[in-house]
């Protein structure tokens, strides 16, 4: 399976990373090197093998359903590139 320029553009779009058109062929080539390497996995007989979910046998712990945190608006917003009136500010989303 070889990745072409269009697939590379699609992946970049899905990952929300801007890649200039001129850089797409080189990117596709890098993808192909990595994918060629991981292609080896197709040699392995995985018939009947469960995909690993957790590396150590553990049950996800549950806690009592109660409020344990909150009231930290200023701290939550402290690192925002643009925060106004107690909210994160972003460019217009809806026309």
């Amino acid at each position: 399976m070889s990745i072409d320029k269009d697939t590379a553009a699609k992946v970049a779009k899905l990952a929300r990373i801007r890649v200039e058109d001129a850089d797409l062929p080189a990117l596709a080539e890098e993808f192909n090197a990595v994918l060629g390497f991981i292609e080896q996995l197709s040699e392995v007989d995985v018939e009947g093998v469960e995909p690993m979910v957790s590396v150590t046998p553990m049950r996800l712990p549950r806690r009592v359903d109660e409020v344990t945190d909150g009231g930290q608006q200023a701290k939550v917003l402290a690192n925002a590139p643009d925060a106004r009136e107690g909210f994160f500010a972003v460019p217009k989303v809806v026309e």
């Binding site: 990373i17 890098e30 993808f31 080896q40 972003v90």
Partner: protein, 495 residues
């Protein structure tokens, strides 16, 4: 007392308790070494005010007579750990200016035990790399050089700053993190000791996430005893990390008897790679002999799926990274790109992430996106997770057959030159982790111990892999190996 910065944790602890030295003196010695070691680019954020305040508090506590082992010990902290009010940017431009409002569990535990933070340490961006060359801060430099050749060598990665700082005696020890070998490979490249504990031993809360099912933090130290002392302080159950194990933490140092009589050590035949340098073969054979001479039984073993560990890793780790790094969107923290007139939220995401992430991080996020995308999820991601099950099963089988620990080389070579791999394809760099990555995939503890030098005088290390949760036994085997190897070489100071 001369050259306090060169002390081990154990020696400093004993001297502090006897009143022979103060934490303030140890801290000043380290701060002054750091100031004159700019050429190593190991420390990237300096926190002398915090260090001095913590040292004063530690001295008061020691005087009061009730101080834990880590009390008053000056440390470097990898930039991946969130430290309250101190830049924590995972060596990425996308987190430029980020100052956490909270403290990671690991650093909280260390500071509660009285440890002193000297500053934050260089690393590969988001811990993605094996040479510290993907850092937004520039390269960290290995204090070791090839004989009289003064070309700059990599300290390894991703915990390159940690390794460089400990090897150059800028601090007594440092924190590291290990997703595919990022504690053990740099430890081997710089002649120090580093342990990656069992997955779940150390809380990941407040550690910037790379691949959550593989990431573990651990200590990087001057010897095995220090690794035991510092690991104990970092371990423990944490309700804030749902994968943290609710298990008692033993006194690891008390388990260092050096007696390994009757232990069974496995030598995996699949780790003998084609084209492996003769020096690595020799080091491995010598290490095997040392353990045998100490009374261990040596057994040849097979871990048949070893060959598929790196390919599985390069599906699973990028997949998890693409998900974890989705949070860097220019909204809540870190960098936001300057937008052009008419740009909407999609342009904001795309420009922010293109500007903020370096090349290797972008590539891995996109590879991860691809292997998780509709139509490829089964062929790549699910298949890799099945192979991961088989890799873990390989280890379970040999442990069930009575193997106590497994001895392998840590790396396929000694430290290479900075820039030497820049023209190679990404796979050549990935091969650095060929001996370490299996351990992360299987969730096992692994430790790198320096045992020799190559013909150009560069350090080389061996890796011991232990049974899950048996870090104490693993550290004791490492201690026996360390005693037998008697590695004492230090880099000549040029910086």
């Amino acid at each position: 007392m001369a050259e306090l910065n060169k002390m081990t944790i154990a020696a400093a602890r004993d001297a502090l308790r006897k009143g022979d030295v103060t934490s303030a003196e140890l801290t000043e010695a380290c701060l002054s070494e750091i100031d004159s070691a700019g050429a190593l680019n190991a420390f990237v954020h300096h926190t002398p005010e915090i260090a001095r305040a913590q040292a004063a508090a530690a001295d008061a506590r020691i005087k009061a007579g009730d101080a834990p082992d880590m009390c008053g010990i000056p440390l470097g902290i990898k930039d991946l750990f969130c430290t309250k009010g101190v830049p924590s940017q995972a060596a990425s431009n996308i987190l430029k200016g980020f100052k956490p409002e909270y403290e990671s569990t690991v650093t909280s535990q260390l500071f509660d035990a009285g440890a002193v933070m000297l500053g934050k340490l260089n690393m590969d961006e988001f811990a993605m790399g094996s040479s510290n060359e993907t850092s937004a801060y520039g390269n960290a430099v290995n204090p070791w050089r090839r004989g009289n050749d003064d070309s700059a060598l990599t300290p390894g990665g991703s915990s390159g700053g940690s390794a460089s700082a400990v090897a150059a005696d800028l601090c007594l020890a440092a924190t590291g993190t290990d997703t595919g070998g990022s504690i053990r490979q740099p430890a081997a490249f710089t002649g120090i000791t580093g342990i990656k504990p069992t997955y779940g031993r150390v809380s990941r809360w407040g550690v910037v996430a790379f691949a959550s099912s593989l990431d573990q933090a651990g200590p990087m130290t001057k010897d095995v005893r220090d690794a035991a002392i510092m690991l104990e302080a970092m371990c423990g159950h944490d309700a804030k990390d749902s994968t943290s194990a609710d298990l008692a933490v033993p006194n690891f140092e008390a388990m260092l008897t050096g007696d390994i009589k009757g232990k069974t050590i496995g030598i995996p035949r699949e780790y003998r790679m084609d084209g492996m340098p003769e020096e690595i073969e020799k080091l491995w054979a010598e290490g095997t002999e040392m353990l045998k001479a100490a009374g261990a039984k040596i057994v040849d073993i097979s871990l048949p799926h070893t060959k598929y560990a790196l390919p599985a890793y390069y599906v699973i780790a990028p997949a998890e990274a693409s998900s974890n790094l989705a949070r860097y969107d220019g909204v809540r923290y870190g960098h936001r790109a300057k937008l052009a007139a008419g740009d909407g939220i999609t342009e904001m995401y795309e420009k922010t992430r293109a500007e903020g992430f370096g090349h290797e991080v972008q590539r891995r996020v996109m590879v991860g996106t691809y292997v998780l995308s509709a139509g490829f999820y089964d062929a790549y991601y699910n298949r890799a997770r099945k192979v991961r099950t088989l890799i873990k099963r390989d280890f379970e089988t040999v442990f069930a057959d009575g193997i106590d620990a497994i001895l392998t080389p840590t790396t396929p070579s000694a430290a290479f030159g900075l820039g030497e791999m820049s023209d190679a394809d990404p796979i050549a760099m990935y091969l650095n982790d060929v001996f370490t990555v299996t351990v992360n995939l299987a969730g096992l503890p692994g430790i790198a111990v320096p045992t020799g030098v190559d013909k150009r005088g560069l350090p080389l290390g061996l890796q011991l892999i232990g049974r899950p949760w048996e870090e104490g036994d693993l550290l004791n085997t490492a201690y026996a190996l360390e005693q037998a190897a008697g590695f004492v070489a230090k880099p000549r100071k040029w910086w």
